[in-house]
Subunit: 259 residues, 2 copies
DNA sequence: TAGTGGTCTAGACCACTTC
DNA sequence: AAGTGGTCTAGACCACTAA
């Protein structure tokens, strides 16, 4: 037997997907449904929470529940790291994807803080240094308008970045060309990277920071960036709202017998 | 003000993460907590559901709520497509990752059904054919023991696979070397691929099929496989339980100025 | 059959937004 | 102040498991 709250949620889901309930239009108020039907407040509430977790509606106290506008996915491909963008041009690497997808970059959409910290285990392993060694952490929160899209924290080894503008703890992006340009100017040209992705439940702080919808998951991205000789010059951890992005990778089918 | 159910959930989360509550050990029963503390049944229930969504506990009627065993992540890298594995060896490409991570392959862990269908929009676009054109859909559910890990449906164009054992609608894997080997034998050697990932809420059928825990998300993977001349010979859609996998990709930093 | 989690209700109260 | 969603309770009943 299907629970009543699920039946109700599926009924509304159908109505939203067919367009019968248009984006931006208000959903019936909980108390109205309680009066009209036989359902109780908690039951309707559960149904609405399920719809909210699927990204179909938004609820807020005082304002009511409305059908969500469709937010287009931001597609992240490896082209966003194109050397031409950060080495020759004046785009900042981290916002290259936004430029590529036709959105304009506005100043003030990225805040940054730089601090010296002891390397957590994950960071130490990536850089091949002892746990607790000193590293620079450069954390930024990337926004699009008022809406935060993801957080990104890069970890650098002191000998690679000390004396550069990367460790200048001022606010704002790292300047023309971004972090990769700074490393390039310091003699460390990035050559290849590894990205690793996994999905998980967000922490309470992340829900607040990224303004996540209730029930929404995040994708954690680990990026290890190396120079041609294999030196790791950056390890970065990104946390993305899971429904706002897709990731795409092209690669040759490997053939270990030929190498 | 933090809701009580969240407070309670965080208390238990802490206890589980520190190991104070060991995997396999039972959580306090809901009715006991109601008797001892001032909380009500629904409130404790909400807290338990939150823990379950995080993958920390498992609840079932009659059996109670227990701390979950830690399930190791399965790491998927592009090495799982190594030509040496499916062309020269006798491993099936789709289970190569399991072999790599030390798990043994058991017969009967993969079921398959082949059918001729009209190409859905996504499939048509990937193959560059009209919507509704006939394609072969090869759907399998991959399990590890009793636990399903992911579903994978490959779409092939008739002219590439007709007459091969791929479209033989018998059960079981596609045979020695898997689907890529069949394509290879038919004169279509795969050369490069694109994988695209996104996370989303599972459908009701997927929850049942993959035995997902309540609140758990899935990652949908789109794989487009091409020969050296750019012909798309396979488009596959995979649905993975989000917490059971991580994906990893290595690539050179692109440089459009040099090509 | 006893004991577990899951659903549902009716009503109270709280937090927030809008007027 | 009025009206929205969110939390909480006490208790009823249901669904499932194990002895």
């Amino acid at each position: 037997m299907k629970p009543k709250w699920r039946e109700l949620a599926e009924k509304f889901e159908e109505e939203i997907r067919t367009g019968e309930r248009a984006p931006g239009s208000p959903m019936p108020e909980i108390r109205d449904l309680v009066e009209k039907g036989e359902r109780s407040k908690e039951t309707v509430h559960k149904a609405y929470k399920a719809l909210e977790a699927q990204g179909l509606v938004t609820s807020s106290r005082g304002r009511g529940t409305v059908v969500r506008e469709h937010v287009p996915l931001k597609r992240l491909g490896i082209a966003r790291y194109d050397k031409a963008k950060w080495r020759d041009g004046d785009e900042v690497a981290f916002i290259a994807d936004r430029v590529a997808s036709g959105r304009s970059y506005l100043r003030g959409e990225q805040t940054q803080t730089v601090s010296e910290v002891e390397a957590p285990p994950l960071v130490a392993r990536a850089h091949g240094i002892p746990e607790g060694a000193r590293v620079y952490a450069r954390a930024r929160l990337v926004k699009e308008g008022d809406q935060p899209t993801h957080s990104l924290t890069s970890y650098y080894r002191p000998e690679h970045v000390e004396g550069t503008r990367l460790v200048d703890p001022g606010p704002g992006p790292a300047g023309k060309g971004g972090g990769f340009r700074v490393l390039y100017d310091a003699g460390y040209e990035i050559d290849h990277m590894t990205e690793e992705l996994r999905a998980r439940v967000p922490s309470a702080e992340e829900i607040q920071l990224l303004q996540l919808h209730p029930g929404e998951w995040v994708v954690e991205l680990h990026r290890t960036t190396c120079t041609a000789d294999g030196t790791v010059v950056e390890f970065a951890i990104g946390v993305h709202a899971a429904t706002r992005f897709s990731w795409s990778y092209d690669f040759k089918v490997p053939d270990s017998a030929q190498e």
